[in-house]
């Protein structure tokens, strides 16, 4: 299973490097969202500073949706889904591989958005340990759930609009948890943030288990 996951992740990342969709579309989109938030809230600098954690994670979610849709769009093209079914790859391995690939892309995106927030919003970064833990755990939660819902929507003609409708409500707890943890880190009260990291860890663990067992049947239906 891990061998299959590694094969899929390596292939997906190579696809992204060669196609540069993430670099040319997702990253500019994410930065544009940050800039628009800055324009909208700039008259009240205090409000912008206060809302920075939430704006950051909303930008991550919206941009991450593009990466997740892309992850399954490449499998829907020209008989690739059938080829995957015939490949002998274990469905759980495919799920873990796609999750890993999405997570790596999200981590790169989050780093760039972090720089964007620091520059555009003038946020001073504190509580590094909690920030990093939040980023890792929230990324795991978003990518595990996103990959599972991605395969649900993959076989449908309306997948581009269906995936956000399915996924955004599901990821609401992650958005809340990551925002609260960031607020705690940036306000110098990290002890208030760690329970949210724990909550997101449970969320990610539940979706990993659901994905390992559910991805195969869902891929059959897609």
């Amino acid at each position: 299973m891990l061998h299959d996951a590694w094969l899929i992740a390596r292939k997906d990342l190579k696809l992204e490097i060669r196609s540069r969709v993430a670099l040319n579309q997702v990253v500019p989109f994410a930065l544009l969202v940050l800039v628009l938030f800055a324009f909208a809230l700039d008259p009240d600098r205090g409000l912008l500073e206060k809302a920075t954690p939430g704006l950051y994670w909303i930008a991550v979610l919206f941009s991450g949706l593009l990466a997740m849709q892309r992850s399954f769009a490449v499998e829907a093209a020209d008989g690739v889904t059938d080829a995957l079914r015939l490949s002998g790859l274990v469905p759980a391995g495919i799920y873990l591989g796609k999750t890993l690939s999405v997570a790596v892309q999200l981590l790169v995106l989050e780093m760039l958005l972090g720089v964007g927030v620091a520059v555009l919003y003038g946020t001073s970064i504190t509580g590094w340990l909690l920030l990093l833990a939040t980023i890792v755990v929230a990324t795991a939660a978003i990518s595990t759930a996103g990959t599972l819902f991605g395969v649900v929507a993959a076989g449908l003609r309306v997948r581009e609009t269906l995936l956000p409708l399915l996924l955004l409500p599901v990821l609401a707890p992650v958005l809340i948890g990551a925002t609260r943890a960031f607020e705690a880190a940036l306000s110098g009260t990290p002890s208030e943030g760690w329970p949210w990291v724990g909550l997101m860890s449970v969320f990610a663990a539940v979706y990993v288990v659901a994905g390992i067992f559910g991805f195969g049947p869902l891929m059959e239906e897609s």
């Binding site: 094969l7 292939k11 020209d78 008989g79 690739v80 080829a83 015939l86 490949s87 002998g88």
Partner: protein, 234 residues
């Protein structure tokens, strides 16, 4: 559940054994009771008009389309009980290429080879066999001609070393040289112990290639089927 093992004319267990096999696409019976036996090392040509059920039959044999009634045993696996476990043992050349456009020819062939549990040497030799080594190997599949894509799909298939080849219009989009390569691959595969079932509208070429011919019409095998009928090519 172990299937009852049928025997063929040769007295051995057939690679494909269908009796009254029905496959539904929605509510439409694309296969409406197909009878078919195919022995190991045989090359079987499926012919029939568009919509006769050739593609559905090939996809059903690959375990991609469920059999809803009748018997269907492929490589000893009862498809009505378990469609998954036969899949990695068959190679399907379908209408879609099954390739990633943004990846190079070499990346595609290597990925599908490793996915099937074969080794990189198999991928390299498959590319050489299909004339995809050298300059072409680093070209993105999206930039290839239709014929070159077909060759790449074939390279992915042969690198997997399947026991049962299911070829849907394998000559389509290929030039004469490419078609000759396909015929040579099919003959070599059969000689090496594989079984090949192919559909083709290039009947002159395909009839020369085939050991048996099965005509499909309306989702059933007509009188020259391999199911006890005389489908052998003289």
């Amino acid at each position: 559940m172990e299937p009852d093992h049928p025997t063929s004319r040769s007295g051995t267990e057939p690679v494909v054994h269908l009796r009254g096999a029905v496959a539904l696409l929605g509510r439409f019976p694309a296969l409406a009771g197909v009878d078919l036996d195919v022995d190991r090392r045989r090359i079987v040509l499926l012919r029939g008009a568009n919509g006769a059920g050739k593609t559905t039959l090939l996809r059903a044999l690959a375990g991609l389309v469920p059999i809803s009634a009748g018997e269907a045993i492929v490589l000893g696996v009862d498809l009505r009980v378990d469609r998954q476990s036969v899949r990695h043992r068959v190679g399907l050349l379908a209408h879609g290429t099954g390739l990633y456009d943004e990846l190079s020819v070499a990346d595609n062939v290597r990925f599908w080879t490793l996915a099937a549990g074969a080794v990189l040497a198999d991928a390299e030799s498959a590319m050489i066999r299909l004339g995809l080594d050298g300059r072409l190997s680093d070209v993105s599949v999206g930039r290839l001609s239709t014929g070159q894509r077909r060759r790449t799909s074939l390279a992915c298939l042969i690198a997997r070393r399947p026991e049962l080849w299911l070829l849907d219009e394998p000559h389509a989009g290929l030039d004469k040289e490419g078609r000759d390569v396909v015929d040579e691959l099919v003959r070599d595969a059969a000689a090496a112990g594989a079984t090949i079932i192919l559909s083709s509208h290039e009947l002159d070429r395909a009839i020369d290639l085939a050991d048996e011919i099965v005509t499909l019409g309306g989702g059933v095998a007509l009188d020259d089927s391999g199911a006890g009928g005389d489908g052998h090519v003289a």
